[in-house]
Amino acid sequence: MADIYLDNNATTKVDPAVVDVMIPYFLEQYGNPSSIHKFADGVARGLKQARQQVQALIGCEHDSEIIFTSCGTESNSTAILSAVKAQPNKKEIITTTVEHPAILSVCDYLEKEGYTIHRMPVDKAGRLNLESYKRLLSDQVAIVSVMWANNETGTIFPVAEMAEMANAAGVMFHTDAVQAVGKIPMMLQDTKIDMLSLSGHKLHAPKGIGVLYLRRGTRYRPLLRGGHQERGRRAGTENSASIVGLGKACELALEFIEYENTKVKAMRDRLEQGITEQIGHCFVTGDMYNRLPNTTDIAFEYIEGESILMLLNKAGIAASSGSACTSGSLEPSHVMRAMDIPYTAAHGTIRFSFSRYNTMAEVDKVIEVMPGIVATLRKLSPYWDGNGPVADPEKAFAPTYA
């Protein structure tokens, strides 16, 4: 069997149909869309069509609310920095402890500049408390930034409801939706979401293209100033081939959104069931009943994630982990810590994330090899003894901190 790719929350394969629509923009219509000659005359039309394709997927009212950027990170930085620039008197930001670093690092930076950052905690299933959120909203808050779906666990936050609450309090609302767009049906015009970030490479478009949705009338300050591109809201020559590719990818995502929530979900559910039934001392993290259809994050207790990934990789299976070692940091994933997952499990979390390119046969293959991998590593673990964990693991093995 060919290698199995189950790391689609990290990035996805570019759909061949997307590649096809992009190629003419490298070889024929390579003119600068601002130019007046035949090498450019189709480009503006291509960009317009792409804008409408994105508009259709996220359900916003106007295509001019779509600003093309270079990636999700740029969209996130633009949104938050715009909100604080446009409202210099408001010195507070509300976000969550489980956001992507693309949000958290910007907030950390602003904190050093004197901003008060409210990082809302989550419970053991990764859920927010909306009562405490309500208490944080005030006229001092420049922006609320809450992810639509978590990249590690797939847990979905009630962003539509939270945007309503922010709006009622007169506070701007941004959502990092890079994991959600294309997997969850959305109709932004019916919400009070002011800004939304999406990323092309999470939905079978190429890397290096993103979008900031900016509701008409939202106060805005550009991050990049220069030419008139994107109506002066994001200067820099348009990445026309990638924009056109993203448009096509959005059209396909809309077409496949039902498939995503039925067939892809069925593959995820089967994998999850197969693994948790066969392997003891493992559990699914996050909110089981309110998740992206393509994501499962399973904690294998008493073993470490990078080791699991290396053995999976040897078996031709690609996934990812929340362990410290995979990122070279000293702590396991901040998402696992926020959910209070014990260290002995947090380091052993493996995320399997699917796309429409996966098959049930692949699922069966993973279910077949996973028990052997876990058993191999548990045999090496000081927390494991024969067929189960040692009695009182935390006491039986208490290493000197080194």
């Binding site: 470490e304 290396m310 070692c325 070279g328 260290y343 002995t344 380091h347 090496l380 000197t400 080194a402």
Partner: protein, 302 residues
């Protein structure tokens, strides 16, 4: 994924001496479960000769932690305890044909487990003597705790000071913002303010005044020799050395010898030397491994 050597992969996929030694008479347990690496080393030591007859490991950790544990047991089997105490983390890393800088702590953990096990056998209490912080300088594997301690101990004030005392920041320079943040924090604790243009506290011997007038080739070679001489002690501290082979225009061809030869860090080190040369000489200098010279000659002949 990390760029692991074949040796690391070999020891990870087929670990040697996994599991606890059945009738062990020495046990060492070190690591930190919050960091995700912990190791129990069990030894069977011959009471008369103090020779390590058997060694076994149980490790919770990543690929390089398991590989380091496995290779450690191979290294120490057959050694006397006194010989084993001389095993360094560099020995472990060398046996594995190098580890990525972020993973050097795995080899440190191996050495510490060994020391702890030997202390346990001898009825002594083993104390860990270092604390590990977040990795700041990836070129030279220097962590935050180390930098903080040096800033305190030596009253360092600038990034340049930190580089002179710890090597941190002397390579690609990407960590200078992080080093500034540490300086800001520590200086604030001391009631001082970080000033990026502050005078260096140290005037290290290697600091040679930048020359403004263009150099003749002879002057340039002499200067380069001087700078390399001043860098030599820190290279030799890591078991390596550098040799100047040729200077053509603004390009200096060097041989990395000793531990530097074939080391994964060699490229970083060369970048660091180049940086230093440019700072001191005040002109653009390119440092290239002497092995690249052959290609150049071929091009010229062709």
């Amino acid at each position: 994924m990390w760029d692991y050597s074949d040796k690391v992969k070999e020891h990870f996929f087929n670990p040697k001496n996994a599991g606890a030694v059945v009738d062990a008479n020495a046990t060492g347990e070190v690591g930190s479960i919050s960091c995700g690496d912990a190791l129990r080393l069990t030894l069977k030591v011959d009471d008369n000769s103090e020779i390590i007859l058997e060694a076994g490991f149980q490790t919770f950790g990543c690929g390089s932690a398991i590989a380091s544990s496995s290779v450690l047991t191979e290294i120490i089997k057959g050694m006397t305890l006194d010989q084993a105490l001389k095993v360094t983390n560099q020995d472990i890393a060398d046996q594995l044909e190098g580890l990525p800088p972020e993973k050097m702590h795995c080899s440190v953990m191996g050495r510490e487990a060994l020391q702890a096990a030997i202390a346990n056998y001898r009825g002594e209490e083993w104390k860990d003597d270092h604390e590990e912080g977040a990795l700041i300088c990836k070129c030279f594997a220097i962590d935050a705790v180390m930098i903080e301690e040096m800033v305190w101990a030596n009253k360092l004030r600038t990034v340049e000071d930190v580089t002179n005392f710890t090597k941190a920041g002397g390579g690609c320079a990407a960590c200078h913002e992080d080093i500034e943040a540490i300086l800001e924090k520590v200086l604030a604790e001391k009631g001082e303010k970080f000033d990026p243009s502050a005078e260096s506290v140290s005037k290290p011997a290697e600091k040679i005044a930048a020359v403004k007038a263009p150099l003749t080739n002879l002057q340039r070679i002499k200067k380069i020799e001087q700078v390399l001489e001043s860098l030599r002690p820190s290279l030799m501290a890591d078991g390596g050395d550098v040799e100047l082979v040729e200077v053509i225009g603004n390009t200096a061809y060097v041989n990395m010898t000793g531990a530097c030869n074939g080391c994964q860090m060699a490229a970083m080190t060369i970048a660091g030397i180049q940086q230093r040369l440019m700072e001191v000489m005040g002109e653009f200098i390119k440092v290239v491994p002497a092995s690249e010279m052959k290609k150049l000659v071929n091009i010229e002949v062709a």
